[in-house]
């Protein structure tokens, strides 16, 4: 990259070999629109992070680590009326700093390290979806740092990152009202526009619209919705959100089991 003297220099530009490859693209196979790919989740695997989680759904692999709480950077904020349950006043509440990064080798084309706008948008989406679930009032003047790393993108990356981040926060022992479960959807293009739950990379690339919903399963409250594209009439979007929320509920037992196993492992290792 021109001017980036902190990294080893490569050529000015490079093209992926797929541009020159002959042959047709693959078509996504027809499937049940409400099928969820089997999920593998494991919490508590990084020794240097306070809490961590790894989630694998189909080809999507996401690793998330949480550190903190540590004293917040930034100016002092004034007091205000105290919240219920002995929490700090609103202006002194803790902050959640989220960071979403794609590994350079995670997609079809290599993405050079400084991510750009898309990663910041997704990091903000992560923060907005996780904030309702975390009891930030219990961490006055502190900040919790959540870093999500996408190792391989196989579709529904943001949804997987949301779920992994919530698991990592729970693993770190951060006080939460509920877990946050994410689910991705995409709308196949005409001639058969239908909303597909948990799309693969191929389906996402060919989609006319995409949507990610985040749900707090026990409280049954929506934590975040992010979508864009040509989705058709409003009823179609409403139906998609409903489909997504059902998917989140179905995913919840797997995550509960994962946290129980992690807690057992921690308990077994503790007496040292």
């Amino acid at each position: 990259m021109p001017g980036d003297h902190r990294r080893i220099r490569g050529p000015e530009e490079s093209q992926p070999p797929q541009l020159y490859a002959a042959g047709e693209g693959e078509e996504p196979a027809p499937r049940d629109p409400a099928r969820l790919r089997p999920v593998y989740a494991r919490a508590g695997l990084l020794s240097q992070a306070k809490g961590s989680a790894y989630l694998e759904a189909g080809g999507t692999k996401v690793l998330c680590a949480v550190s903190g709480p540590r004293p917040a950077e930034g100016g002092e904020r004034g007091g205000g009326p105290a919240g219920a349950g002995g929490e700090a006043p609103a202006a002194l509440r803790g902050r959640l700093l989220c960071d979403f990064r794609r590994a350079p080798f995670s997609g079809r084309r290599r993405r050079a390290p400084p991510g750009g706008g898309e990663e910041r948008e997704l990091a903000l989406a992560l923060q907005e979806a996780l904030e309702p679930a975390v009891r930030l009032g219990r961490y006055p003047r502190a900040q919790l740092e959540v870093s999500a790393l996408l190792l391989e993108d196989g579709g529904s990356a943001l949804a997987a990152a949301l779920t992994a981040a919530a698991l990592a926060l729970a693993d770190a022992g951060v006080e939460m009202y509920d877990l946050v479960v994410g689910c991705g959807l995409s709308r196949a293009p005409a001639p058969a526009p239908a909303w597909l739950l948990d799309p693969t990379l191929l389906e996402e690339e060919r989609a006319s619209a995409g949507l990610t919903v985040a749900l707090m399963p026990v409280l049954n409250q929506v934590a975040g919705v992010l979508g864009s594209g040509e989705g058709g009439p409003t009823e179609s979007w409403a139906e998609a959100v409903r489909l997504g929320l059902e998917g989140c509920q179905r995913l919840y037992p797997v995550l509960q089991q994962c946290l129980v196993r992690a807690a057992r492992r921690r308990g077994a290792a503790a007496p040292l």
Binding site: I8, L46, Q48, R70, S147, D153
Partner: protein
Amino acid sequence: AGTRTVEPLEYYRRFLKENCRPDGRELGEFRTTTVNVGSIGTADGSALVKLGNTTVICGIKAEFGAPPTDAPDKGYVVPNVDLSPLCSSRFRSGPPGEEAQVASQFIADVIENSQIIQKEDLCISSGKLAWVLYCDLICLNHDGNILDACTFALLAALKNVQLPEVTINEETALAEVNLKKKSCLNIRTHPVATSFAVFDDTLLIVDPTEEEEHLATGTLTVVMDEEGRLCCLHKPGGSGLTGAKLQDCMSRAVTRHKEVKKLMDEVFKSMKPK
């Protein structure tokens, strides 16, 4: 436990006097090393290496580029080591810090000096088209001894790389890629790094953890290849070492090379051909 947080150096000295370390290892013993190859489907080659708790993943993406003007027969190998807040809370997000830049430069030196691959092998058409191998090493968990883990991950990932066949169409002068026919890279040497930490200017311990790296008065990394030849020596300041101690380090590095080579051969033999 109290001494460990308040006076870590005294705590360590007590163990070192008995020739062992708090985690039960001897002074010349490495942590358990595991390697997993080919797990990232989107990368052309990948490897995950765990040295105790230190975890590094290397993903290689191959792209086309124009060869450098001063070496029209050579391709590029571009390493990049990424140390992010994910692996340890002492790193900040943003451009690479000092430790990451040092590690990237070290890996670039190892590639250059040991000639793992001849850059001429990467050239497709002299002066016009060559392969560029972007080797991205991401540290997932930093518990000391990053350099050894990165070198091993890079080597395993390079062995795992499959490049599609490319031919230059004579009429259109454009490249034609056949994604179905893939071949491995020609790996000429297998450099293996062994890192040491120097305690109190005299004692040498192998494979330091993060805590040990903080308490050390100096570090040393030796890179050997299979014929016992020295490829690279990295000693960034710190306490001085006598010639005899350096020789000890090099013999330990030769033994380590055998251990690592054996592990890698086992892993690659057990992989089913695609």
